[in-house]
């Protein structure tokens, strides 16, 4: 079983679970429900689900399915049902986003999916589910919680992908603030009620781009995007797309996407 830990707060019927390392980040769940036995079983299923998703999508693990596809020796490769589902969805988003969402970075038209197989018409094509997998996993987590009768829950995947199911014990929704990573100033408050928030940005925190104030090397332009959507995968995909789309492309994509509130921030 993947590394995880939990704590139970009887007074408020709060179950808190943490998977500290999955898909390169951390997942935390807060579920409000009185049945600790059911919640414990459910949590084991959630952890198991994440572990299996990691085995599909983690391109840094040499034995993951995506690594196997990326190091293929043939053009036609058998794939798991999860991978087939994911690639079909990637195809849908590829069209809906005017080709701005592309897990192959420019070659999705060379990929065909069907009948438990994927066909690559270009040997150079590599898959990277970076802007997809967390949203995809969250969608499954949410279904699992709903199927077990959990109505009120908060799920935080790496701080950048969040689901609010139902509402806070003392409120009518879950309130989340988005702060500028540059200044810490609150840029926007969101009220999540059976909806998802995804954030994306191109500003580094430590690694490099600059300002060496002593030499005056100019900063790169800093921006961020947030998307609130009914579906966590929509939010995940569109928050990345919003970072690279032109205003006109954003307008066109918004027309194709129902139930989505997207914002862009110049930092």
């Amino acid at each position: 079983m993947i590394e995880n830990r939990t704590d139970w707060h009887e007074a408020g019927s709060l179950f808190h679970g943490v998977v500290p390392r999955v898909m390169g980040t951390r997942l935390e769940v807060l579920m409000v429900h009185p049945d600790i036995e059911m919640l414990s079983r459910l949590w084991r299923d959630v952890a198991g689900l994440l572990e299996s998703m990691d085995r599909v999508f983690d391109r840094f693990a040499p034995d993951s399915e995506v690594s196997r596809l990326n190091s293929r020796s043939r053009d036609i490769v058998d794939i798991s049902p999860v991978m087939e589902d994911a690639l079909r969805l990637c195809g849908d988003y590829y069209e809906r986003t005017l080709h701005l969402f592309d897990v192959t970075l420019g070659h999705f038209r060379d990929v065909t999916v069907g009948a438990g197989k994927v066909i690559f018409r270009n040997p150079m094509v590599r898959l990277d589910f970076g802007g997809f997998a967390k949203g995809y996993a969250l969608r499954s987590v949410r279904r699992l919680l709903a199927a077990n009768g959990v109505k009120n829950a908060f799920v935080d995947f790496g701080g950048s992908s969040i689901i609010g199911m139902g509402h806070h014990p003392y409120g009518d929704c879950w309130k989340v603030g988005f702060d500028s990573p540059e200044t810490g100033v609150r840029l926007r408050d969101f009220r999540l009620y059976d909806s998802s928030l995804s954030t994306s940005g191109n500003t580094p925190s430590y690694s490099g781009h600059i300002v060496n104030p002593l030499t005056g090397v100019a900063n790169r332009r800093k921006m961020a995007a947030t998307v609130v959507a009914g579906d966590s995968l929509d939010a995940e995909v569109l928050s990345t797309v919003w970072m690279i789309a032109s205003p006109e492309q954003r307008r066109q994509i918004a027309e194709l996407s129902a139930d989505v509130e997207a914002n862009i921030y110049e930092l």
Binding site: T25, R26, Y170, T199, S205
Partner: protein, 441 residues
């Protein structure tokens, strides 16, 4: 590398003070680091077009490092070079062909067209050169440590207090942005009460320079002999002890330690391994360690507080109870209080996704220059360029930099007292006769 610069205002100094958040007329930074007054934009505009005529005494590796920095400073012009070792003088002349050459620094000090001298000679030469420089009416910038003995340090300090000349010692951390901002955070209480300090400097090198013939051994490898060097304490620890005093605003009362030659048994006289503990009046301690036969731990200057840790070398700090760890942790606390508030999303995925129990926070925005501590000459952007530029400016304005000499005096005395404690194998109390009004215990 430019050999001559247009006279003008040093933009890098302007950018430096601007990056510290100094607003014209503002006092927050200046009350905390008063030596930076001479770097303010108001002061910089005073020297517009002025140029300090600088001589460099001691043109070995560190002297040449300063020459490279001087050549980048528009308000400085190198007019003379001095070294009694011809290969070093030749190397410096190649960098500044127009500068006059001297083998005797006293001859150089007689010249009227020199405003300031930069001294980068062996430690046992510092005192006489600094004192002669001030007597000759020159402004003086000298490498650390201050001097080889406590009496020499005291003589320099007294000469300085009676002189109208400017004196700097190369305490570059006082001019290093991440140290200044980090100290501001410490003094503003970010890490709580300072409860301890840990500094170390590890290298794996013999600290030797090649010697063309045996009679030059003690001159070239002066760092290895007690006559001319305080070893690891004066050459490395002096910077770090200054940082510790800066953090707590006081001087330690006592010091104990052990020093040995553990690995480099090549005829040297100074320790290659030192472990020293300084104790302040309230029991706070500096744990200092330096070893030059293993470099695994590199260099660190850590200020430990009851609610956080300032890792100044890397420009990072860590909090003991870090509420940025998890939004859900905050939610849980909130629900227990029956409160309904917005919790912050930890931010877009560029923010450290693989959080550990102690997530690091940057002291300074943007690129941070980290000195890995392995160079025996100097590194870029560690404040050495800024302090030198500030000195050249002071050569024009005649304005002394507050606290720099005092900090150098305090730090050097701590180094020399540690050597005494190690040699005598006992705890040494700070001696009354070397106290100066600046010191608080």
């Amino acid at each position: 590398m430019k050999s001559e610069n247009e006279p003008g205002t040093d933009l890098s100094l302007r950018r430096f003070i601007k990056s510290l958040g100094y607003i014209a007329g503002g006092t927050a930074i200046l009350s905390m680091a008063p030596w930076l007054v001479s770097c303010t934009q108001e002061k910089l505009s005073e020297i517009r077009g002025g140029q300090a005529r600088i001589a460099v005494i001691g043109t070995g590796s560190r002297g040449q490092y300063h020459i490279h920095n001087l050549l980048q400073i528009p308000h400085a012009r190198i007019v003379a070079l001095c070294d009694d070792y011809a290969p070093n003088l030749d190397a410096a002349s190649a960098l500044v062909p127009a500068a006059r050459r001297y083998a005797d620094y006293r001859k150089l000090l007689e010249e009227d067209d020199i405003d300031g001298v930069v001294i980068a000679t062996p430690l046992n030469w510092h005192a006489r050169m600094v004192l002669d420089g001030l007597s000759a009416g020159k402004h003086v910038f000298c490498e650390k440590a201050m001097a080889r003995t406590m009496d020499e340090c005291k003589a320099i300090y007294q000469a300085y207090t009676h002189s109208d000349r400017v004196l700097y010692f190369c305490m570059q951390r006082m001019y290093d942005e991440k140290y200044i901002k980090g100290m501001q955070l410490v003094h503003n209480g970010l890490i709580g009460d300072v409860v301890g300090m840990r500094c170390h400097w590890f290298r794996n090198a013999d600290w030797r320079r090649p010697v063309p013939s045996p009679e030059l051994e003690r001159r070239i490898n002066w760092r290895l002999y007690r006559e001319s060097s305080g070893g690891l304490m004066t050459e490395l620890a002096s910077h770090q002890l200054e940082v510790c005093n800066w953090a707590v605003g006081r001087m330690p009362l006592s010091v104990a330690g052990m020093g040995d030659i553990v690995y480099w048994k090549d005829g040297r006289e100074v320790y290659d391994s030192v472990n020293v503990i300084y104790r302040y009046s309230d029991g706070v301690k500096i744990n200092y360690e330096s070893l030059i036969s293993n470099r695994f731990n590199g260099m660190e200057d850590q200020i430990l507080g009851n609610s956080g840790t300032m890792d100044l070398t890397k420009g990072l700090y860590y909090l003991e109870n870090d509420n940025s760890l998890s939004g859900i942790q905050q939610l849980l606390a909130q629900i227990k209080e029956k409160a309904f508030e917005a919790i912050p999303a930890a931010g877009p995925s560029w923010r450290s996704e693989t959080k550990k129990e102690y997530p690091p926070h940057s002291i300074v925005e943007g690129r941070v220059y980290v000195n890995p501590g392995q160079s025996t000459v100097g590194v870029d952007k560690d404040g050495s360029d800024v302090i030198l530029s500030s000195f050249c400016q002071a050569c024009i304005t005649g304005e002394k930099a507050r606290d720099v000499v005092e900090e150098a005096y305090c730090a050097t005395l701590l180094c020399l007292l540690a050597n005494q404690a190690m040699e005598e194998g006992r705890t040494v109390i700070f001696p009354e006769e070397y106290r100066i009004p600046y010191m608080k215990f």
